[in-house]
């Protein structure tokens, strides 16, 4: 089911949670709504489900305007962050609930509902768990029951709110892979909300990065990571350091020193680069230099914090574990991949990318 969102807005009191967001989702896609808390990602999901009513804008399911329809009529499968399983019902009854409450004419027989529940339990790899109660299940199992319950009504779209938020790291990784496989098998259009960029990048076909109620960027995980459209995306996805720089004469200047980076344009800008996209240079003519103020081990590299110039800006770079630079020693480097954003305007305005160097 294609989903088209047109200028949708939702305001709670004075506070705009979602501000004129437009988005097109293709049938069968697995989409991540990614953003920090308060970015409006859950509100957007609930708007699509019909659990919230928009203050403005429209939502189309295929060619049909769904925005004035009730949550029941939209036929969406919604998996809640805390699962919201019915505690007093067995797992099988939970899964069959959506079929049992159908109007009599469309309601399958008791036996058919039972068979469908068994089938879905097999699909979510919990065969034989039908008689148990939610309290007897682990977090990961509850999550899968909640998913089976949402799938039971043959939804047109599957919506998941922080599906792995309440699980521990190991279970989360397993479930992530499993959800991807399930999606590929069933082919539902799926939208899930997460604040975990790693989860979004690993799982989704396309990632929608939200911040303060607006979309910062929509793209494949590669696009989001390699060509971030705004300073916010650059900082939110992966690690990033930033430095205020000046552009003039086709060069990038840090205070009065040339950084050795070339760029068109004039005026103030902010330079972004990732800790691993640097090269250490000897003898500094055209580089960024600073004093090491701390370091820590990150997986296979040493992440070194460096204080730069009179502005005392701190950036992080990755060095080989064996690198001799110790606290207090001077080090010079040059970013190998970097991006510039014109400063002056606030971070949330439209992307102001001026240069891309990969």
């Amino acid at each position: 089911m294609d989903i088209r969102i047109e200028n949708i807005s939702k305001t709670f009191g004075q506070h705009p949670a979602v501000n004129s967001v437009s988005l097109e989702i293709r049938s069968g896609e697995l989409i991540a709504l990614l953003g920090p808390s308060g970015s409006g990602k859950t509100t957007l999901l609930r708007l699509i489900a019909g659990l919230e009513h928009p203050t403005g804008g429209r939502i189309f399911f295929g060619d049909e305007d769904a925005s004035r329809k009730s949550v029941q009529a939209r036929n969406v499968g919604f998996v809640f962050q805390h699962y919201a399983l019915f505690k007093h019902m067995s797992v099988a009854d939970n899964i069959g609930f959506g079929l049992r409450v159908r109007p009599r004419a469309q309601r399958p027989s008791r036996r058919e509902i039972r068979a469908r529940a068994e089938e879905l339990l097999d699909l979510v790899q919990l065969p034989g768990y039908g008689e148990r109660f939610p309290a007897q299940l682990s977090g990961g199992q509850r999550q899968r029951v909640a998913l089976a319950r949402a799938l039971a009504i043959e939804p047109r779209v599957l919506l998941l709110d922080e599906p792995f938020g309440a699980l521990d790291a190991k279970v989360r990784k397993d479930l992530r892979r499993w959800l991807r496989e399930l999606h590929d098998k069933t082919g539902h259009t799926t939208i899930f909300v997460t604040h975990d960029q790693e989860e979004a990048i690993e799982l989704a076909d396309r990632v929608v990065v939200l911040n303060k109620g607006v979309i910062e960027q929509v793209g494949t995980p590669d696009e989001i990571y390699d060509t971030p459209a705004s300073p916010f995306v650059h900082q939110f996805i992966g690690e990033a350091s930033s430095l205020p720089v000046t552009l003039s004469n086709g060069e990038v200047w840090l205070a009065d020193r040339a950084t050795g980076l070339r760029s068109e344009g004039n005026g103030e800008a902010i330079l972004y680069f990732r800790p691993n996209h640097i090269e250490v240079v000897e003898g500094c003519s055209g580089c960024i230099a600073g004093v090491v103020v701390g370091s820590r081990r990150v997986a296979d590299t040493r992440r070194v914090e460096i204080e730069i110039g009179a502005g005392r800006h701190r950036v992080e770079i990755d060095l080989p574990v064996g690198h001799p630079a110790g606290e207090g020693s001077r080090i010079a480097f040059r970013p190998t991949r970097w991006r510039l954003y014109l400063s002056g305007a606030s971070e949330n305005a439209a992307p102001r990318k001026v240069a891309v160097h990969a």
């Binding site: 949550v71 029941q72 809640f80 019915f86 609930f97 309290a135 039971a152």
Partner: protein, 298 residues
């Protein structure tokens, strides 16, 4: 011997080294505290309760049964049960509706409604009785119109029912609101997203989640409905055999120095209360798992 055991200083816990807990008190303090609690309970609860039954049976079993089968006493028992049978369902419906509205929705005047629900708790029952006399009595606002149409409310059963409903108004709602607020709307949203309509959501999801609190509320409401004195005393007019409820009947007998008859009827009231408690305890014991599960948030 494990390392942990070796770390415990063995000399300090000579009597029972493994039973030392951070939150426990010394033996002497425990005895004193328990004694105070037991003494207090005995003095203020058990002794009066025992006295009621002892006084009731002072004249012998036959006198006891004569007192409770006497026509006026039977009328009082019948009236009390009737009033409770009307007032409790009314407050059950109102309480669920009010708690549902307050816990699950945001609307203007919500805090006013919450305050209003508490009003019967803060107003003296005598005043609630007086209010209904003022409204429906012969000299009251609606009195002349009502008597012109042959409807009797004050000093009759309808008045008693109204006053009882007023006094027992908060019990069910008060029991449900905190629970429903804590449970939030997650389960209801899940049911709606699965296609259930409002009534199905209430019946299959909300009601099972609140059934224990609802039962407590109803039991408390019932106990109070049967035992209410002040409001009923004012509005009933205390007409023997007609508008006398059990508590009023006890008082009348007592004022007439018919002590053992008074205590006999009082013992029946006490018995009703004890039965209520027994039902509650039984249900708690029988469905302990269900109650624990319902109390737990997701």
């Amino acid at each position: 011997m494990t390392v942990e055991n070796m770390l415990v200083p063995s000399a300090a816990g000579t009597a029972a080294p493994n039973r030392y807990e951070a939150t426990s008190e010394t033996r002497g303090v425990r005895i004193v505290l328990i004694a105070i609690a037991v003494l207090f309970l005995a003095l203020f609860l058990l002794l009066p309760l025992a006295a009621v039954f002892m006084e009731a049976f002072r004249g012998g079993i036959q006198a006891y049964f004569a007192a409770i089968t006497e026509p006026d006493a039977l009328a009082a028992i019948r009236l009390t049960l009737t009033v409770a049978a009307i007032a409790v369902p009314c407050n059950l419906i109102f309480g669920v509706a009010a708690a549902w509205a307050i816990a699950k929705f945001e609307f203007k005047g919500k805090s006013l409604l919450t305050t209003l629900i508490d009003l019967p708790f803060s107003v003296s029952p005598v005043i609630s009785g007086l209010v209904y006399v003022l409204l429906f009595g012969a000299q009251g606002y609606f009195g002349p119109w009502l008597s012109a149409h042959g409807i009797q409310i004050a000093f009759a059963v309808p008045g008693i029912v109204l006053a009882t409903i007023f006094v027992t108004f908060p019990f069910v709602a008060r029991e449900l609101i905190p629970l429903m607020q804590e449970q939030g709307t997650g389960d209801e949203e899940a049911a709606l997203s699965l296609g259930a309509n409002g009534w199905q959501t209430f019946l299959f999801v909300t009601l099972p989640n609140i059934k224990w609190a609802l039962l407590y509320g109803v039991l408390l409401c019932n106990a109070r409905a049967m035992g209410e004195f002040g409001a009923v005393a004012v509005i009933s007019g205390k007409i023997r055999g007609l508008t006398n409820t059990m508590p009023l009947h006890v008082e009348i007998l007592y004022n007439e120095y018919a002590f053992s008859a008074a205590f006999a009827v009082a013992s029946l009231l006490a018995l009703l209360a004890l039965v209520t408690l027994a039902i509650k305890t039984f249900l708690e014991w029988r469905f302990a798992d269900g109650i624990a599960a319902a109390g737990r948030s997701h």
